[in-house]
């Protein structure tokens, strides 16, 4: 794990950024250039974060029910979209229904002895002390900071009033708890900013916001009690205190949830919710296969970057994966059930042969099927997905006056191959500009049909899956994975996206030096994702903010390369 000296600290200076805006600039102590912090953001909890918090605070057997408002994807990430969404009236109704259902379960007879630690003097009368004890602790975990005296007093009073009416102590707790669960303080991650005592004129997240920043980044959930205690004691604002918490959190089993959340976001796995295939053409594909395919890719990634802590880029080349019997039928490999007939399928490790074109996540069903229409594969869609997801390269939208006649003409021949059909793009200048950066990549995946099944023939013709990615030639899909592995853009992509996920916004031009440092450090550490995550989590850049009056005109850089 990287333990090199952090770049924050020794000298700080105030400089003027272009445009004449005054801002805080940190001088590097270990090779990092000046960094101009970005603005603070307020984020609505994502669906998964909401579920994770309820699970972590109240246990996994609490049924959330209801329907969480849809998350918004912006700049490729739900994590960024979360800072651009509010709550609609209909969404609030759902939150309210879920809050009532959750609160009812927390105080029901099945759970109350475990979740409400104190015993009321009478279950038919208010017990201020017990109510205060429970609401203070629940509020601390849900709000990710201690309740203010006024907040706590309000909830305790409300609980007592409800108890008086219902003659049920736990109904009183339920009322106040459900109110907490619909509070903006729970549903939104509000960053509270304070002056940085170490840097005159600089601002930073307060300790509790810092704890949340750290926790949602690494665990995709709220801070645990230990982290909140470190915030409360001020330890989290010390270098050693931060590093101690980061190390503890990196070592925690909950880190897997954070890594899964990042890659599920990056790979756009929310689109699985609407993925469907033509049952006549792809009869093996069903909801179970789709769910397993999603999980397969996440397990593959976790195995590389977490379990084995290998070079992150191996997710594009690894032959090792995990399969269920249902996926085995899609991949046409023998995955035998392990348990009794009728028992749930179990995941089993599997390694594709060295000469098998399956290698890396781009050749897995979760990628090839997700980025295909319902009835066929699509080199263009897949090529675009590789550019945008694996390389963070933006592909411009097609012009409004696309002439499809040549493409349709090429498609009219049923025995033509996708390569032949797509060649029509080359003859139309307005199409060729973009398609030349998508189609050759997507054609490398033509050995996989629209549901991810392997094929060698299209229209009676042997499929040619060879191509070139940014100057690196390849022969087949496995070769495409190798080409992505070797492409520096893949490294920049994961560094940028992981940083953006942590920040909840795009990285500003002022933070370029920080990104450059992260990339350099990532390379020095053999492209191990854990080292990168630790570096990001330990970076003061993650917790420093630009004063709000300067935010409006702060330059925000689009980190994505626009490929033409």
């Amino acid at each position: 794990m990287n333990r090199r000296a952090r770049w924050w600290g020794v000298g700080a200076a105030i400089v003027l950024v272009a445009g004449g805006i005054a801002a805080t600039v940190m001088m590097a102590s270990s090779g990092v250039g000046p960094v101009l912090s970005g603005p603070p953001v307020t984020r609505r909890l994502t669906s998964v974060q909401y579920q994770n918090i309820i699970r972590d605070v109240f246990g996994g057997d609490i049924d959330i029910g209801g329907r969480l408002p849809p998350d918004l994807r912006l700049e490729g990430l739900l994590s960024i979209g979360a800072s651009h969404v509010s709550i609609t009236a209909a969404g609030m109704e759902q939150y309210d229904a879920m809050a009532r259902a959750i609160a009812a379960q927390v105080v029901d007879e099945k759970h109350r002895d475990m979740l409400v630690r104190c015993q009321p003097a009478s279950i038919t009368a208010p017990d201020e002390q017990c109510a205060r004890e429970f609401l203070a602790e629940a509020g601390r975990l849900l709000y990710r900071r201690p309740l203010t005296d006024r907040q706590l007093e309000t909830y305790v009073t409300a609980a007592a009033d409800a108890t008086e009416i219902t003659h049920d102590f736990y109904q009183g707790l339920k009322l106040s708890l459900s109110a907490m669960l619909t509070s903006p303080a729970f549903l939104f991650r509000v960053e509270v900013v304070e002056p940085d005592p170490n840097e005159e004129g600089a601002y930073r997240l307060d300790a509790y916001s810092k704890a949340s920043q750290l926790s949602f980044f690494l665990w995709n959930s709220a801070p645990d009690s230990q982290l909140l205690a470190a915030a409360e004691s001020g330890e989290l604002h010390t270098r050693s205190g931060l590093e101690e918490q980061v190390e503890r959190m990196i070592d925690s089993p909950r880190l897997e949830a954070g890594i899964r959340a990042f890659f599920a976001d990056q790979l756009r796995f929310t689109e699985f919710a609407t993925l469907a295939k033509d049952a006549q053409l792809f009869p093996k594909f069903n909801a179970q296969v789709a769910a397993d395919a999603r999980e397969q890719t996440l397990r593959t990634i976790i195995d590389v970057v977490l379990t084995d802590n290998r070079d992150f880029r191996e997710i594009f080349t690894t032959k090792e994966t995990f399969l269920t019997p249902a996926l085995g039928a899609i991949y046409r490999v023998p995955i035998y059930k392990q348990g009794p007939n009728g028992s749930p399928d179990q995941w089993q490790p599997y390694e594709f042969a060295a000469d098998d074109p399956r290698a890396g996540i781009l050749t897995q069903v979760a990628f090839t099927a997700l980025h295909s229409p319902a009835g066929r594969g699509s080199p263009t869609i897949r090529g675009k997905a590789v550019r945008e997801i694996a390389l963070c390269q933006e592909v411009p939208a097609p012009p409004g006056d696309v002439d499809f006649s040549k493409f349709l003409q090429a498609s009219a021949n049923p025995t033509s191959t996708a390569r032949e059909r797509l060649s029509a793009h080359a003859s139309v200048p307005s199409c060729a500009g973009c398609h030349k950066i998508m189609d050759p990549i997507g054609l490398a995946l033509e050995n996989f049909n629209g549901a991810g099944g392997y094929r060698t023939i299209e229209g009676g013709v042997q499929i040619d899956a060879s191509g070139v990615l940014d100057g690196i030639p390849f022969e087949n899909a496995a070769g495409l994975g190798e080409a992505v592995y070797k492409n520096p853009a893949a490294v920049s992509c994961v560094v940028n996206r992981l940083s953006e996920r942590a920040l909840g916004r795009q990285v500003t031009s002022g933070e370029r030096n920080w990104l450059d440092y992260l990339k350099s450090d990532f390379a020095d550490n053999g492209y191990r994702l854990l080292a990168l995550m630790e570096e990001i989590a330990s970076s003061e850049a993650l917790y420093s903010v630009l004063p709000s009056q300067q935010v409006a005109s702060a330059p925000v850089e689009n980190n994505r390369e626009v490929t033409q």
Binding site: G328, A329, Y336, K337, Q338, P340, F352, A353
Partner: protein
């Protein structure tokens, strides 16, 4: 190796381990570097090829008409019969008739359940099939001299023994073709496919792309055969062979022009589902299974089958099923008994087995002994 498509190193290890475990197993004693193709049976039913002129005495009447025949024999007056017919044609429930039919057996003059006591039900002498063609095999070797022999519509072999088709082939529920499947077997297989573990076929030969000797193994899986959401059988599912020795069968055979036949005709035993029949038994087993380019296999398996279990499988549907699926159940008892052509009872001389042919379809699968791939089985 277990499957000609398997090449990965981990699976090779697994397969080698599995091969070692085969010593006492009937799956296959494959010669070195043999090729094996595995299949899961996705359709299984009596082979029928009904045509317009194969029941010279006509197809059996609908069940309501048969009920009226029974009622007449049991003493109902012509007027009563006419009234019941009129009501049934109007769609009315004729409870009195139904009560009579649910107890149309007679033992010592007392009404008894006809399905449980079919021998106690009068024989209406419903006709058997007398057409020329039937899928199958010349089981008794009599060839063209066999007076009961059919001609196979594909191979044109004469002397084909398929008396079960002759017995049941004029009943509406058993009429059909390979494509238009008989109602009874569509129902029965519909029940079985989701309620009994899959039946597996493994063909092993030196090179299944060429003619030559093969071994044919029939085994039962632990898992049910898997189907896709559109109802089609799922290819490439991995099945474990049930260690229960009652469902392991192995035959010597040969592959000729893509078709597998059995050359040493032994007996076959596969556990089934008591819902239809506890087990499936054939003696003097014959097979003609074509391995298709789409990786499926389809063909015929024939032999002599004890006819009592066939009857009890049909009888299990009872009164409701008799009306909706099968037709006259006790009538089938008498037909099967009449046309049974093998295994005479040493005391009564009644043949206890009947020649038959089943049509089967199968899809490619992965197969391995359960004891080799499932840790929990080994520790049971």
């Amino acid at each position: 190796m277990w499957n000609n498509e398997l090449e990965s190193a981990p699976m090779k290890n697994l397969l080698l381990t599995a091969l070692v475990g085969l010593a006492g197993f009937a799956l296959c004693a494959s010669p070195a570097e043999a090729e094996t193709r595995h299949y899961a049976v996705s359709w299984f039913g009596m082979a029928t090829n009904s045509s317009d002129n194969d029941c010279s005495e006509g197809v059996h009447p609908v069940i309501e008409e048969i009920y009226l025949r029974y009622a007449s024999r049991l003493g109902a007056s012509p007027e009563q019969i006419a009234d019941w017919r009129k009501k049934m044609m109007a769609g009315e429930v004729v409870a009195e008739l139904y009560e009579m039919m649910m107890n149309r057996g007679r033992i010592d003059g007392e009404p008894v359940n006809p399905y449980a006591h079919p021998a106690a039900v009068m024989d209406l002498h419903l006709p058997g099939l007398d057409g020329r063609y039937a899928y199958g095999f010349d089981l008794d070797g009599k060839g063209a001299d066999d007076p009961d022999g059919f001609e196979d519509p594909v191979t044109h072999e004469l002397g084909v023994d398929h008396q079960m088709y002759r017995a049941l082939g004029c009943s509406r529920a058993f009429r059909g073709t390979l494509e238009g499947r008989p109602t009874y077997y569509a129902w029965a297989w519909g029940q079985l496919k989701s309620s009994q573990p899959a039946w597996l076929i493994s063909i092993t030969g030196q090179d299944l792309g060429k003619d030559g000797p093969v071994t044919v193994a029939f085994n039962r899986a632990l898992e049910h055969v898997r189907f896709n959401s559109d109802g089609s059988p799922r290819f490439d599912v991995a099945y474990r062979i049930d260690p229960d020795p009652r469902s392991h069968n192995r035959f010597e055979g040969e592959l000729n022009d893509g078709t597998v036949t059995i050359t040493e005709h032994g007996s076959l035993r596969l556990l089934q589902n008591p819902l239809v029949a506890p087990e499936f038994n054939l003696s003097n087993v014959h097979l003609r299974l074509t391995l298709n380019s789409d990786r499926t296999a389809r063909g015929f398996i024939g032999g002599y089958q004890p006819w009592h279990p066939v009857y009890w499988g049909i009888a299990g549907v009872g009164f409701g099923g008799e009306q909706q699926v099968t037709g006259d159940i006790p009538g089938f008892y008498h037909l099967l008994k009449r046309y049974a052509d093998a295994d005479p009872d040493p005391v009564t001389g009644q043949n206890m087995a009947i020649s038959t042919t089943y049509y089967l379809e199968a899809v490619p699968a992965f197969v391995a002994p359960a004891t080799e791939v499932t840790a929990w089985l080994g520790s049971r």
